[in-house]
Subunit: 210 residues, 2 copies
Amino acid sequence: MKAKNLESRISSVDTLIERKKEEKRKRLLDAAYTCFTEHTISGTSIAEICAEAGIAKGTFYLYFKDKEDIVRALNKRISYQVLCNIYHSHRKEDFVDHAVRMASELIHYFEKDHEVVALMKKDFVWPIDEEGFVTCDDPMMIDIRNDIDAYAAKSGLSSHQILVRVYALICMIYSVCYSSIIDHFPSELSQVKPEIDAMIRSSLAPSKKV
Amino acid sequence: MKAKNLESRISSVDTLIERKKEEKRKRLLDAAYTCFTEHTISGTSIAEICAEAGIAKGTFYLYFKDKEDIVRALNKRISYQVLCNIYHSHRKEDFVDHAVRMASELIHYFEKDHEVVALMKKDFVWPIDEEGFVTCDDPMMIDIRNDIDAYAAKSGLSSHQILVRVYALICMIYSVCYSSIIDHFPSELSQVKPEIDAMIRSSLAPSKKV
């Protein structure tokens, strides 16, 4: 009985430590977001991020290797949030229609929020954990995996082919939105959008063997 | 006669100044490349770039606004060099075959040189000058424009549609090579490459109206 008590107390202490760590990491990411949008990434030092987060500078390195590391972690968090926001609307549609609709919402989101475009640049980071796509147990990732498998069953494309193509298309949209909005090349988004739609449809079209 | 002499002397002084400026800019870019590959971008200061170039720090700001500005200028230069290296081989082929072949050479180049991948990240910069694609008088750009116009004439796609799609595909390749090589996602390049080829072919296929 005593042993069990001790075990459960150790486990709840562990959980508490884990939660505290997660909370500090989140505070650093929030602070980085604030600093980067106010002073740009290259205009922000790690000391400034720590000051904004109210966390000692030494502690920063328990969570991130360097500034580049926190930039990527932030891009991963934003990529995840953006994907969450657009994934579940219209999910009942046909896979390809859903992909085109999501691209539309993504472009619309970037058009409204140039700050996030300038911050992320072209760096969409697929929001998986270290174990990778197949084992990831995040609910949205499970939905995406199921949708890909279901489309694989009827399109003649393998799940791997669909994943690579979907991922490449999202990367393409991030890059082209950045250059349209920030560099004004190749043209305005309204003129780029129909081409993106066409490329999504042709890239995800069922294989001819079906 | 005297006036003409003076004119021609002023013009040759102007050319000399222009050449000196171009040479300093080039030295700064070379120095930035050396520093970034040796110490990463975030581990390099503007002072270090100037020291490497043997140029006074104040002079830096005559050429570049800040570190981000020189990073982009460097990406633009590398993008141009890479495009030059791959564009002219096999140019006599069919437009779509040529595009697939170029993608292949681009991927091969990135596979051999991870340093340049880590440096450029996902930032392919279309190498045009400020006046834009249509007026740019660089010989390679003229070839690209002519090839696009010729393909427009027989594919049923407009030159603008082709330019946007080609640009989007190059961006996609840069992004996916970066994540395959650096993040090992979505998979090894050898498994990604057939999907990229398929997406190039379907994206640039002649319009059905033809």
